[in-house]
Every structure is written in C-alpha cells, then in structure tokens.
Symmetry: C3
Subunit: 308 residues, 3 copies
C-alpha cells in the first residue's frame, strides 16, 4: 500500500469508525427525555417547553451551519472547504458533545435527550468552529476530526468544572469563546511553518467571496440573541438576555463601523469589523468583553494578514 | 400570429388563467378554520397551536423556496432559472395543493384553512420540486406548470389512498419522495432526445455556483427536523421525530463524507454527497431509506453526469 | 486639517456621537417591560407571549438585515455597500426608532421595552431602507445617517398621528411603505445631478449579483406573513393575517411572472417582478395596493433603468 493510498483511506476509515463508536455509545447511554410527559394534566405546559425553545434551537442551528460555515468564505481558495468541513466538524461535534456533556449529568446511568441537550450539543461545536478559523487551510479533515475530539472533551470538562466551582460564565464567554480562541491559536502555533510566514497566495479575498462571508456574518449577528438566551432560565431572565443582546448588537455596529472607517485605508468600511460588532456585543453581561472579541482580531493579524 | 408570438403569449395566458381559476375555486370552497376559537375558555391553548407550529411552517417554507431553489444553482447556466422557476412552481403548487388535498377532506362542503393545511400545501409542492431536478434545462415554464397540475393531483390521490389503506408512510417517504423521484425520471425519459446524450454544455458547474448550491443544501439539511415533525401528533411523538431526525442527519454527514472521499477522484469531498446525507437521514423511521435517497443518485447519473 | 482628512473623520465622529447620545437617552428613558411577570399565577401564559412572538420577530429581523440587505446587490458595484450600509442604517435606525416611537407612549416617564417594541423598532427601520433603494450610490454613510434621523422622527410622528386620527393602516401601508417610497424619491430628486441622467456605469448588473439579490427577495417574500401579522391582535386576527398574506403572496407570483413575461424583451422572466409579487401581496387588506408596490416600479424606472 503506497503512501498516497494510505492517505486516501485514512479519512473515510476514521469517519466511519468514529460514527460506529458513536452509534454504539448512543445505544448504551442515550434515551429520550420523556419525564416532561409523565403527568397527564400538565401536558400543555410541558409540550410548550420543547416547542417554545425549538425556534431558538433552530436559530442556533443556523448560526452553527450557515453562520460559521460562510464566515470564512472570503478566502478565495477555501470558500467551498470552509462550508463543507464546517458541516463535517459540526455534525461530528454535536454527537460527541452530547456524549461528553451527558456523561457529567447521568440520570440512572442514562443521558436523557431533550431540547436543552440539543442546544448544548450545538454550543459545544462552536468551540471547535472558533478554533477552525485559526487553522483554516493548514489542516486536513483527519486533523480536524482529531482536534474536535480533543477540544470538545476538554470543553465538557471545563464546563463541568466551572459549574462545580460556581463560576458565573453567562453566555459561555470563557468555556466556549476564550477557550476556542486560545485552543485555535495554540493549534495554529503547532502547525506553523516558517515558509508560510509571508502569507499564502490562497488567502486573498475576492469580491463575491466577501458577499458570501456577509451571509455568514449576518446570520451570526441576527441570531445572537437566541444564542445568548436559549439556555437561560425561562421567563424574565430569558427575555432580558434577548433584549440586552439585541440592543448591544445594534450599538456595536455603529461603533465598529466608526472604528473601521478610522483604521482602514481611505476610510473604507471593512467587513471584518461588522463581525467584531457581533463579538463585542457579547459583553452585555459585563464579563470578558475583550477576550471574547479578541480571537477575531488575533486571527485577523496572524492568519488573514494578506487580505486587508 | 406567428409561431414565436404564439410562444410568447402562451405562458402569461396560462399563468393568468390558472390564477383566475384558483381564485374562483378558493372563493367557492375555502374558508378560515375558526373552530379552534369557538370556545371562550380554551383560547390560550388553541392560539398556541397555530403560533407553536408557525415556526415549523416557516422552516418548511424556507426549505421549499430557498432550499430547493438554490439546490440546483450549481449548473452554471441554470442558476437563475432554478431559483426563479422554483418560485413559480412552488407558488402555484401550494395553491393547487390546498384544493386537491382539501377536496378529500371537506367539512360541510368547505376546505378549512389552518396552519396544518398550509404546511401540507408546502409539502405537496415538494413532489414537483423533486421531479424538477430531473428535467431542469429540458422544460419550459409552460411544461412545468402542466407537470405541477398533473403531479400534485396524483399526489393528493395517492396520499388519500395511503390513508384509506392504512399504510404507514411517516415523513411521506413514498407519497412525496419516491413518487417525486420516479415521476421526474419518467418525465425526463419522455423529454429525452438522443442529441442530449453526451451532456449539455450548459450543465457544467462553476466555483461560485457551488457555494450558492450549498446555501440550498444547508437550509434543507438544517430544517429537515421541522419537515419530519411539522404534521406529527403533538407532544412526545413530535419531539421524538425532531430528536431522531437531528441525530440521523448528523450521523449521515460523517458517512456521506466518508463515502464521497472514497468514491471521488483524489479523495475530494463532493457537495452532492452532503445532500445525500440529508436524504438518507430520512430513514429514521426504518422504511424506504434507499428509495428516498435514490432520486438524487439517479438524477446525478442521468442528468448531471458531466459535472463530476 | 485638509478637506479629505475632514471627510475621513466626519463619519466616525458622527457615528460615535450618535451612539453616545442614544446610550444616554436609553439610560434616562428606557426600562424593561416587566409587568407581564408581576402576577405569580399567570406566568406560563405571559411568558408565552414573549416567546410566541419571538420567532415572528426573528423573521422580521431576517427581512430587515438579509432581505433588504441583499435586495440591492444586483448592482454590480454596490453589492457590498448595499449589505454593509443596510446593516449600519438598520442598526442605528432600530435604536432611534425605539426612542422616537417610545416618546409618544411613555409609562410613568419611561419607555418599557418588550417584544412588541422590538418588532416596532425593526419596522421603523424599514421606512429608511425603502428610501435607501432610491438613493443607493448617490449618498455617503454620513448622509444616510442624517436621512435615517429625519425620516424615522417623521415616521414616528406620522404613526402617532394616524393612531390619533383613528386611521386604519393595517400592515403600515401608508406610514412605512408609501411614506418610505416618496421620501426616498424626494431625497433622490434633491441629490439629482444632470450628469447622472444617462445611467451610471456602476449600475449594471452581473449574473452572480442577481443570485445574491434573489436571496434578499426570497427572504422578504417568505417572511412577509410574519411582517404583516407580528403586531396584530393575538388569536384569530393574527392567524387570518398570516393565512391571507400567505395566499396573496402565492397568487401574486403567478401574476407577476405572467406580466414580466409579457413586458420583458423575448419573454424572459425578470427578477425584479418577483419582488413586485411580494409588494403587491400587501393588498390583502384592500388598501393602497398600488401605492405599496409603486415604489419598486418608480425606482426601477428612475434609478435602475440601465439594468434591464
């Protein structure tokens, strides 16, 4: 078996083995969360919990697959792989996330799947997708799958540890955003080769690619209130999270365009900064605003230096 | 009147006549479904039925108009007509579907329109849009309208017959997917001309077109849980349909990318296979998985052979 | 300070000053609408009001930012600025709209923010975005911000006046659509220069731009039922608004394609007319159908004459 043949079979074998392992683990550990429906009298209320949160789940789902997927399409050579590999990682990550997060919260030895578990599964993929931004174009699908396994496992432990310590981490600023950013930068540092320093010719952007990237940016920006509120306590807390995120997103757009116009050559507006607007709006809870947006700027400087 | 003038007026006259016929039939047969609101006491619960299902309806709506619309845009010459004619067929089809499906379920000689009827109307257009994939570039708007009339009429009869026979067809695998696929193949066979055999120069794909097609694929993939659950029985059945579809979609992505990597030249990932991932995920109900996805592969081989 | 330096700093300073003014006014006048949650017994019902309307709000949100954003991308030079400046104006406009609309409905000297206020804030930006279509490519970001301030202030007064006079304006046909169209035409007339008469070379359209514009058109078309029903009275009225808009949208597509085919050179279908389909479907309330769609046709003739 030659080396290239070996390479060719590595990815499909890894993907299929992982999927078989996940199916077995699901068979052993996973069951439906049916106890919402045990009482005959409160069926209306409890049914509403699932269907009331389902639109917020779908907003998060769109952010993960369309938002993150199209965010990186402005790189002219990686547009298609950005969307495709994003789909691959997220589809694997949400299954792995269910298992890793669920193992910390077993009920009678089982992981009970409901709408909140599905939202959390989508959240756990966000960590890997943030890191993906720092290593795009430097990694193979095999490496991305391995990175997803490691990163989501550590993320689930971090999240459990934060809950154990009683740390306040609303919106998962630390466990998802800061962790994803630094994990990605660390991975990029390990994969760094001196020959890549002066920028890769594949990293330029083209006009239409920017419009595709705007699709990703806009869906991330619009549905951010759903992301911040989906797993909040029901009632007033959830509504306040939605209202706060809505207005801070709007305020950050004006600030971001102003700074973009000051910093950029000839006062042009740069699309990257509208993404900054989304990130910065995370600071409605007062914690870690700078950390949260920093991963975009850092990845812009380190990875995307040739596109401005 | 010359032949070309004749051709020019054929489509607008057919479209306007069809619309007038539909408006008359709506005037005679259709009324609002108001009996949810007859009781003064249960208004809260019943209001929720409409608004609780409305987000699922909008997900299906996005699948029909954005999902199917952009699915075919990878053909470089048919991108725009794919989206435009998809809009035309679906807008006609949902009105025709209301009438054809409603005639089998009259209440006092009237079709009562509520959220479930609107979801079913969107469903009935899916049949035609699946067939559309097999005849894209071979048909005129006039032919497509005629095909929609015939196909939706037969679909409504099939669906009623399946209900009459007590056939289990969860997710409408037979009545929508298999029927749409084979109807489309039959239509393509009738329209087949030997000169087209070696592939049409209009059928190549270009880079940006693929990204547009990913928009369609992703919206179909993401909202598939809504499609499978929208008309399920409320409560646990609906939730199980959502959960099952969510995980089988994710599992199928890994499998599809693995097979794509094995089959394709140089192990590249092919976008078509991510669409296969969506189709195959329909098999969570255990029935007709292969039939359901086969229409994509068959149409790939017969229609899109030059794009790979 | 040279002229060009002056120009460069004008926009960022205006944007930041406006944002600071808004933050101060929010601090003085705005508070959460918490009285839904004052009663301990009806919490389930009242929570549902926010979450039941939240999906409709997100549909409107997508219309404002993706729908209007991508509507104008068919102009080959303005695609990116269309999406970007649309984001800027809407993000400013929704904050300004909260203040201008809220000042007419103070509760104890405060503006109480809930889901209906957020939907109305998105609505008030629609006025400016409709006018935006008439002046695209003729204005700077500074001029657009000033236009947004003036137009939203007048819009809020008009809306209050219409309510005071008891005028029926369902779907806001007059206060949003007709007002936005004529304000934009007036602004375009003021900015008119004879040298621009024969069409601007930047105004041509290209193939891929049209597909981006279809994204905007489709999202506006699909979510129009949410736009028309979001602030309607709960229950049957809201459901009738959804059902009516759904079917009139579908009917208008057939009519629009028929007219497009008659009018256009060689019977080709023109994308602009599918947008007309959306506008005309607003006439389900019987009032001002022509006014409502006229702004598209007028702007087509005056501004976009070179694209057909």
């Amino acid at each position: 078996m030659s080396f290239s043949t070996n390479m060719r079979f590595k990815f499909p074998i890894l993907a299929i083995v992982l999927q078989i392992v996940i199916i077995i683990l699901f068979g052993v550990f996973v069951k439906y969360d049916t106890h919402d429906h045990s009482g005959p009298h409160n069926s209306t209320h409890e049914d509403n919990t699932f269907l009331n949160l389902y639109p917020l789940f779908q907003d998060v789902h769109v952010m993960i697959f369309v938002g993150f997927g199209f965010l990186m399409t402005f790189l002219k050579r990686y547009g298609f792989s950005s969307v495709g590999i994003n789909l691959l990682i997220a589809a694997f990550g949400l299954q792995w996330g269910i298992l890793m997060q669920g193992l910390w919260h077993l009920h009678g030895g089982k992981i009970e799947i409901g709408i909140l578990k599905m939202i959390n599964a989508d959240f756990s993929t966000a960590t890997v997708l943030i890191s993906f931004g720092a290593v795009l174009g430097k990694t193979s699908p095999v490496q991305m799958l391995l990175m997803a396994i490691i990163e989501i496992t550590i993320f689930a432990c971090n999240e459990h540890l934060a809950g154990y310590l009683g740390a306040s981490d609303t919106g998962a600023s630390m466990t998802i955003h800061a962790f994803g950013a630094y994990f990605g930068l660390a991975a990029a540092a390990v994969l760094y080769r001196p020959g890549l320093k002066n920028g890769h010719e594949n990293e330029g952007s083209v006009y239409h690619s920017d419009l595709f990237a705007m699709i990703g940016t806009l869906f991330l920006w619009m549905f951010w209130p759903s992301f911040n509120s989906a797993i909040a306590d029901p009632g007033l807390n959830q509504e306040m999270a939605i209202v706060n995120t809505y207005f801070s997103l709007a305020a950050c757009v004006l600030t971001a365009f102003a700074i973009s116009s000051l910093v950029e050559h000839k006062g042009k507006l740069d699309m990257m900064f509208s993404n900054y607007a989304r990130c910065c709006s995370g600071c409605n809870t007062g914690d870690l605003c700078c950390w949260r947006s920093s991963h975009r700027f850092i990845s812009k400087v380190t990875n995307l230096g040739t596109t401005t």
